[in-house]
């Protein structure tokens, strides 16, 4: 018997008991649908994190002043004063994989405009910082290298600060006060949102020239961080090594000593986030798979009932010439057809559920062709696996006994 005939017999047998077939399929529909939707949610979240990291620049390295331990006291991050402007110049000069770098210092303080005030982060840096971070302006422009040289009182503000201090007022050209010093607002940054990697509000910031920060606000002449861009994402790993060895050299750190700085690679963080995302996707998929297995057990249950109920039919088929193989393949095909049709409907159901999630929760759901192919293969495997035992039971029947069955 060819496959088409076998499939036709199976479909006909299933059509004889529509309600039961539909209910049996429901288990597989829900199982496959859940897998599709859950994997979609997981991959969507993963993609979103990746996009956020990419937006931040996956070729970015962050060099921070490090921890130091003096006399048993742990001083915490940023306690060292060894990271200086000359280090940045050295990095630019001596690391071939480095494209650009911007120095940075920061403090937290109150910013005042008119009667409003807002506690925020004040970052000092240089103009190339915005290029490295690929951060456009919604209004105005960046302060100039001359501003940096002259330590001018100019500021660039983030969206959160703009909203809280200015509301409807146009901030450009207005004067804000930081530690009672007047600063002219020259630019407003485009909103960047919450950072996926750190989880903080990137728009809650005021940026001033590094020189201004060091000389007029904090009075510290060392750097808290250096933002570095590598020539490419791949080069960022080499850059990390080059910067580390350069800084160790410059800071005269002996081989047995720990670094007094740290170099963080955003590509590393992207990989980490990717891993976390994969684990989450796997977790969601395995939870959803449980329902698929339950659906498979449903198929087995119904097939067993069906085999018992159709004992006489099996006897008739054997009497008129069906071999054990014919009977076995008939019931196996029924199980596979059940699970395949269920799987196909499940895919549609899963896509519908994903659309619903996107619409109501606003999550990004990503349905990959791979997930669909996997779902089809998996539901077929479920059919074969859970259909095998009932089919075998049917094939092993004694035709005489089966014909006598009432």
């Amino acid at each position: 018997m060819d496959l088409v005939t076998v499939a036709r017999i199976a479909v006909r047998a299933l059509a004889r008991n529509k309600m039961r077939s539909a209910l049996t399929m429901l288990g597989i529909i829900i199982g496959v649908g859940a897998v599709i939707a859950m994997v979609g949610v997981g991959q969507g979240a993963q993609q979103q994190v990746q996009q956020q990291i990419a937006a931040m620049g996956s070729n970015i390295l962050f060099v921070g002043s490090g921890t130091v331990t003096r006399g048993g006291t742990h001083m915490g991050s940023g306690a060292t004063k060894t990271l200086v402007y000359a280090d940045m110049l050295a990095i630019l000069r001596e690391c071939p994989t480095v494209k650009d770098a911007a120095p940075g210092g920061n403090t937290s303080t109150q910013v005042v405009f008119g009667n409003d005030n807002w506690a925020t982060r004040i970052n000092g840096t240089e103009p190339q910082y915005f290029e490295i971070r690929n951060w456009p302006f919604q209004e105005g422009t960046v302060f100039t290298p001359e501003d940096v040289e002259m330590a001018e009182n100019v500021a660039v503000i983030g969206e959160t600060v703009r909203k809280n201090l200015f509301g409807a007022t146009d901030p450009l050209g207005q004067t804000i006060r930081i530690k009672s010093l007047p600063f002219r607002v020259v630019g407003v940054l485009a909103p960047k949102g919450t950072s996926a990697a750190m989880g903080d509000d990137q728009d809650d910031v005021v940026l001033v020239p590094i020189t201004t920060l060091q000389k007029k606000i904090t009075g510290q002449d060392w750097l808290r961080w250096i933002m570095v861009s590598a020539t490419s994402r791949e080069a960022s790993y080499a850059a990390q090594e080059q910067i580390t060895s350069l800084l160790r050299d410059r800071h005269r750190i002996r081989p047995e000593q720990d670094d007094d700085f740290m170099v963080r690679n955003l590509a590393d963080m992207a990989d980490l986030a990717d891993q976390a995302g994969s684990i989450m996707t796997m977790l969601l998929a395995s939870i959803a798979s449980v329902s698929l297995i339950v659906g498979g057990i449903g198929i087995m249950n119904i097939m067993l009932v069906s085999v018992t109920e159709r004992t006489r039919e099996i006897g008739i088929r054997m009497a008129i010439g069906a071999t054990e193989g014919n009977v076995q393949s008939q019931f196996l095909t029924e199980a596979v057809v059940l699970s395949l049709i269920g799987g196909s409907i499940g895919i549609i159901f899963g896509m519908g559920a994903s659309y619903f999630i996107t619409q109501t929760l606003g999550w990004v759901v990503l349905i990959s062709p791979l997930a669909i192919v996997t779902a089809v293969v998996f539901s077929m495997a479920v059919g074969i696996f859970f259909g095998f035992y009932p089919a075998r039971k049917a094939a092993r029947m004694d035709p005489i006994e089966a014909l006598r069955y009432e």
Partner: protein
């Protein structure tokens, strides 16, 4: 009145006299724990092509067991059984299935049609297992249905047919693969007397066209439509004789008072 179509006869051509069934000292016993039940105690017989044999006997006489062996549903415990010269007793399960499919046509007491399956599909069923194309299978099934006078009921389900009609569908199914013998196990057991005669008339006509028919029955009247009766008792052949003054079912049917056909 059952009509016979004049189309191609769905019966393998045969010559009377050629041995179809050759059974040699067949025993069958079942081991039930300690005790051994002897169902057949040495059966030897020949049935020639074109014969019409009625096997009779009380329940427990071994006639059903014998029928199962003739039908290749069961194997003898000892002894040999040749069907069309093939030693069936030595065949594998799959080979037996092929023999049942191509050389034997079964008709049962309880009709044994698939429910929720049309008459035509029921008749087609054996062709599905016979490497016959779908088109050829359907053509043969229609011919077989015509042969038993049910060509117009091909799309009916068994539940929409009377008992006699259902049994005619079963006969058509038994004929569809052009078997060499037709085995009928109490084919009239569930039918009223008039319908019984109608069914016997069909078997009679098929036999007249050369088909070998073996029938199991416990009704004496029915056995008298056959040409030869074999009596079973306690697993042995008690009597084996030709039917004298044989009545034909077609004649009996003519003499019966007219009745509305189903």
């Amino acid at each position: 009145m059952v009509t016979m179509s004049q189309s191609e006869i769905n019966v393998a051509p045969s010559q009377l006299g050629e041995v179809r069934i050759h059974v040699l000292d067949v025993h069958k016993y079942y081991d039930l724990g300690e005790t051994r039940v002897h169902a057949l105690r040495g059966i030897t017989m020949d049935i020639a092509s074109g014969e019409f044999v009625a096997i009779m006997g009380a329940s427990g006489s071994g006639k059903s067991t014998f029928m199962n062996i003739l039908g290749c549903l069961d194997k003898p415990s000892s002894g040999r059984y040749f069907l069309d010269g093939i030693d069936v007793s030595g065949l594998s399960k799959d080979e037996l299935a092929a023999i049942r499919n191509r050389r034997i046509g079964f008709v049962f007491q309880g009709f044994n049609l698939l429910s929720r399956t049309t008459a035509l599909e029921n008749v087609e069923l054996p062709t599905l297992y016979a490497q016959v194309s779908k088109a050829e299978g359907e053509k043969r099934a229609r011919e077989a249905l015509d042969l038993v006078g049910l060509g117009s009921r091909s799309t009916h389900f068994p539940s929409q047919l009377s008992g006699g009609q259902q049994q005619r569908v079963a006969i058509a199914r038994a004929l569809v693969n052009k078997p060499s013998i037709l085995l009928a196990d109490e084919p009239t057991g569930n039918l009223d007397s008039r319908t019984s005669v109608e069914i016997m008339e069909i078997l009679e006509r098929l036999n007249d066209r050369g088909l070998t028919v073996v029938l199991v029955t416990h009704e004496h009247d029915i056995s008298q439509f056959a040409r030869r009766t074999i009596q079973f008792r306690d697993g042995k052949v008690r009597r084996d004789e030709l039917v004298m003054n044989r009545e034909t079912a077609s004649q009996v049917l003519k003499d019966l008072p007219a009745e509305e056909d189903q």
